[in-house]
């Protein structure tokens, strides 16, 4: 109890409860006096109604907004929301509101650090490898292969060089869908050397009279959003499957969103695993960007999801639909960004 009473909210509730109790005690006394000594019944009735009205007013004007604010704090603590905390409809005090906004600015800087964390990794990789050395080597292999008449090795080397160039060299936040899909096609080309006919990629567009395929391709999204998901689908879905595997990327544009669904008809995942993953993707866990960046399998997805949420807001991100033996659908939801 003493522990609870250190919070001002508890003290306020206690005071308000005591005040209302006092008010009704006084009213009861008035009623007794009124009935025993015949004081003005209408005056007491009016006071009683006023007290009830006051309680309703307190409930609607104070208690409901307080509960709303409390709920937002609770959800923030659980890691489900971030933005809502900075747009409280009913802040506790002007000072707390300002403090929260100040915190927002400070966190924003941290956000940028976190978002660029992944890019920093690429930069580090870039520094370690020296891309020109890598590209020159790959070009050398390609030339040798061409001279020896080994076209397939030459093509594979070219694809690998293009893939590295896109992944390592161009460090920018948003790229066009066209670039992302080109990278996916290139990645698929490399993977085909390993999987052959076992892996098939289809890209489908849902376009209408207002928006054609070329316009859809100009929408922007965070760089390397698709590749980790495609990689995940191949390694966790199709690779373990017996027989052919299909990978379908379906792009749909609505008035507010760009939706990209990456589906595979691979192994799928268990209900528990799916639940856990979606629960993870619902949260905006800032610490996971750093903590798990070194681990493999599914972590890239959490990173991509975090980046989307940090860049565009919590209403965007990734959702998984899956069933064991049936395959997996990954739905990426993004805002429409043209520039």
């Amino acid at each position: 109890m003493t522990e609870k009473l250190k919070y001002l909210s508890c003290r306020l509730i206690l005071c308000a409860g005591a005040g209302i109790l006092l008010l009704f005690s006084a009213l009861m006394l008035l009623w007794i006096l009124c009935l025993r000594y015949g004081l003005g019944i209408f005056a007491v009735l009016f006071l009683t109604l006023a007290a009830v009205g006051y309680c309703c007013f307190v409930f609607r004007w104070l208690l409901i907004p307080y509960r709303e604010t409390k709920k937002i704090y609770e959800q923030f603590v659980m890691g489900y929301v971030l933005k809502d905390l900075f747009h409280l409809r009913h802040p506790l005090t002007p000072e707390s509101d300002r403090a929260v906004l100040l915190l927002n600015e400070m966190i924003d800087k941290n956000h940028l650090i976190n978002v660029s964390k992944k890019q920093a990794e690429y930069l580090a990789l870039q520094n370690q490898i020296n891309p020109h050395f890598l590209y020159n080597t790959l070009e050398g292999i390609r030339s040798e292969a061409l001279l020896a008449g080994l076209d397939s090795i030459a093509e594979m080397t070219e694809a690998l060089a293009t893939f590295f160039r896109y992944t390592i060299s161009q460090v920018e936040n948003l790229v066009t869908l066209e670039d992302e899909l080109a990278n996916i096609e290139n990645y698929y080309y490399i993977q085909q050397f390993r999987f052959g006919d076992k892996l098939a990629l289809h890209i489908e567009y849902e376009h209408d009279d207002e928006l054609d395929e070329l316009e859809i391709l100009q929408f922007r999204l965070p760089k390397l959003t698709l590749q980790p998901i495609v990689e995940n689908s191949i390694y966790h879905g199709i690779e373990r499957k017996i027989g052919k595997g299909n990978l379908v990327i379906r792009i749909c544009v609505s008035d507010e969103r760009l939706r990209i669904r990456i589906s595979d008809d691979g192994m799928g995942m268990t209900e528990e695993k799916l639940k856990l993953l979606n629960e993870k993707l619902r949260r905006l866990a800032l610490d996971e960007v750093q903590e798990e960046s070194g681990k493999k399998g599914g972590i890239a997805l959490v990173n991509v999801n975090n980046r989307i949420k940090l860049l565009f807001g919590e209403e965007y991100g990734i959702i998984f639909y899956s069933r064991e033996g049936a395959g997996t659908d990954v739905l990426i939801s993004l805002p429409l960004v043209r520039e």
């Binding site: 709303e68 709920k71 937002i72 959800q75 489900y80 809502d84 409809r89 849902e206 209408d208 207002e210 928006l211 379906r250 749909c252 544009v253 609505s254 008035d255 507010e256 969103r257 639940k275 979606n278 629960e279 619902r282 209403e315 959702i319 639909y321 069933r323 033996g325 049936a326 395959g327 659908d329 739905l331």
Partner: protein, 481 residues
């Protein structure tokens, strides 16, 4: 460009510690028909309720028509402009269609009503929207299709952007359903969205632009137009499929014969039902079930033609004691009409046994033997002292177990799959399969064949009370739905 009408993001609803909606993501565009099929019904009513009204949720956000209407932090309880067309009518029976459309509408403040003007307005509105309803009729005189069309008209008049249609296949005949679906397509083209809820994915796949599969408070898959095939959905429903070996129908000898039977709605119905055979009658007009039942239960006599049961005339006298004659009937709402909700599981299970044993008191040895035998199938539910406490699936299973125990010659089921989610339906099919294996002939009368074909050996299509087409099992793929 598609316009987003409804979006539910990460919606969770926890009541009494149970997650009825669990991280649910659902979205609909303007001017589309979205099918919704429930694999398991938990949270399904709450989902519909949440689409209609902004009630408190535990987590997530709901957007409707471009606005945030509900979130975990703030739910104002307001209603969204959504209309639900369901088996229960939302019209006032005693009033005319016009009164239902205008007078009972929110915001109608006139004290003096000029019925002629209202009727003209209604006629024009219905004509513009292609709704063919005689608006001079009283609501009580409307056919089920006219009632649905009137409600659809009312929804459009109220400016609803979303109409929820809840299992129309259960209360409309095949003809009516086809007309109603055409109307829904027409409305869809004018920009109104339809959430079409159905028990049979085949029915949804025929009309929907996309179909969502709902399971235990979550959407587990959204099927796009080109993905709406039996092949694509099968991995999602195989877990619920209870396999069983097919019975071998005895094609030599018929158990039940209908020889050109005539009644008010039957105009020369003729068929033969064999032992261990499952015959499905697709009632295109949704009218013959009542007549067949009254003929079999002895409340009506054939005007022409005759019925024979095991080659003996099925007279009124035999029909009056149809259970002893060997005919069992499972009506549409079997849990309501066949179960004693306040009684125990075992009391309900052994209810017909006295007739079979010709003893008013069941010997303890037999009672214990039944309990042991069914206990292994049912589990702890067999100990339930009040059937009303059982989940719907168990209540329905109890009805079928009772029939299995009674072992009739003929079992007549009226729309057996009309109620319940996919889980329940597949269980019913498995139970019917078990009944067939014991040699009982099963006659299914339905207005919607989709799932029943999984166990049927033959299909008869009945139009205007007479058999219009007949299909053998090998020809089911030729049936044009």
């Amino acid at each position: 460009m598609k316009r987003e009408l409804l979006r539910m993001d990460h919606v969770s609803l926890i009541q009494n510690g149970e997650a009825l909606l669990d991280n649910l993501n659902f979205q609909m565009f303007a001017g589309e028909i979205m099918g919704l099929v429930a694999g398991r019904n938990r949270g399904y009513n709450q989902l519909i309720q949440l689409v209609c009204q902004n009630l408190p949720i535990s987590f997530g956000t709901v957007w409707y028509d471009g606005q945030t209407v509900n979130s975990y932090s703030h739910s104002d309880g307001t209603s969204n402009r959504v209309y639900v067309i369901e088996p229960m009518s939302h019209l006032v029976e005693g009033l005319s269609v016009v009164d239902n459309l205008f007078v009972l509408r929110k915001g109608f403040k006139k004290y003096f009503i000029n019925e002629r003007i209202l009727r003209e307005q209604a006629e024009n509105f219905f004509k513009e929207n292609g709704l063919r309803v005689n608006i001079r009729k009283r609501v009580s005189a409307l056919t089920p299709l006219e009632r649905c069309l009137t409600e659809l008209g009312k929804a459009l008049l109220m400016g609803c952007r979303l109409v929820i249609v809840d299992n129309p296949g259960n209360f409309l005949s095949q003809f009516e359903l086809a007309q109603f679906q055409d109307m829904l397509r027409h409305v869809r083209n004018s920009g109104v969205s339809i959430l079409y809820i159905g028990n049979h994915h085949q029915e949804l796949f025929r009309i929907a632009d996309r179909t969502s599969l709902f399971f235990d408070g979550r959407i587990i898959k959204v099927f796009e137009r080109d993905e709406m095939t039996d092949e694509r959905i099968s991995p999602y429903i195989t877990d619920w499929y209870i396999p069983g070996t097919q019975a071998n129908p005895d094609q030599e000898d018929g158990v039940l014969h209908f020889h050109s039977v005539h009644t008010e709605n039957l105009h020369g119905l003729r068929f033969v039902l064999h032992r261990a055979e499952c015959l499905t009658i697709l009632d295109m007009d949704n009218r013959i079930a009542g007549d067949v039942l009254s003929l079999l239960t002895g409340t009506q006599e054939c005007r022409q033609g005759r019925i024979t049961l095991e080659h003996e005339p099925y007279t009124l006298k035999r029909a009056a004691d149809y259970l002893n004659a060997g005919i069992a009937i499972i009506p549409k709402d079997c849990t309501q009409s066949l179960l004693f909700q306040e009684r125990s599981y075992m009391e309900n299970l052994t209810f017909l046994l006295d007739r079979k044993l010709h003893q008013s008191i069941i010997p303890g040895k037999i009672y214990r033997s039944i309990k042991n035998e069914y206990g292994s199938l049912i589990g702890n539910f067999i100990e339930e002292t009040m059937v009303a406490n059982l989940p719907l699936a168990e209540q329905i299973a109890l009805v079928y177990y009772r029939i299995q125990l009674f072992h009739p010659r003929v079992l007549v089921c009226i729309q057996p799959l009309a109620k319940g989610d996919m889980d329940v339906r597949l269980r019913i099919l498995a139970l019917l399969r078990e009944i067939l294996k014991t040699g009982t002939a099963v006659l299914i009368i339905t207005a919607n064949v989709s799932d029943t074909l999984m166990i049927s050996d033959r299909l008869l299509v009945v139009e205007n009370g007479v058999c219009a087409a007949s299909y053998e099992k090998s020809e089911f793929n030729q049936v044009d739905w």
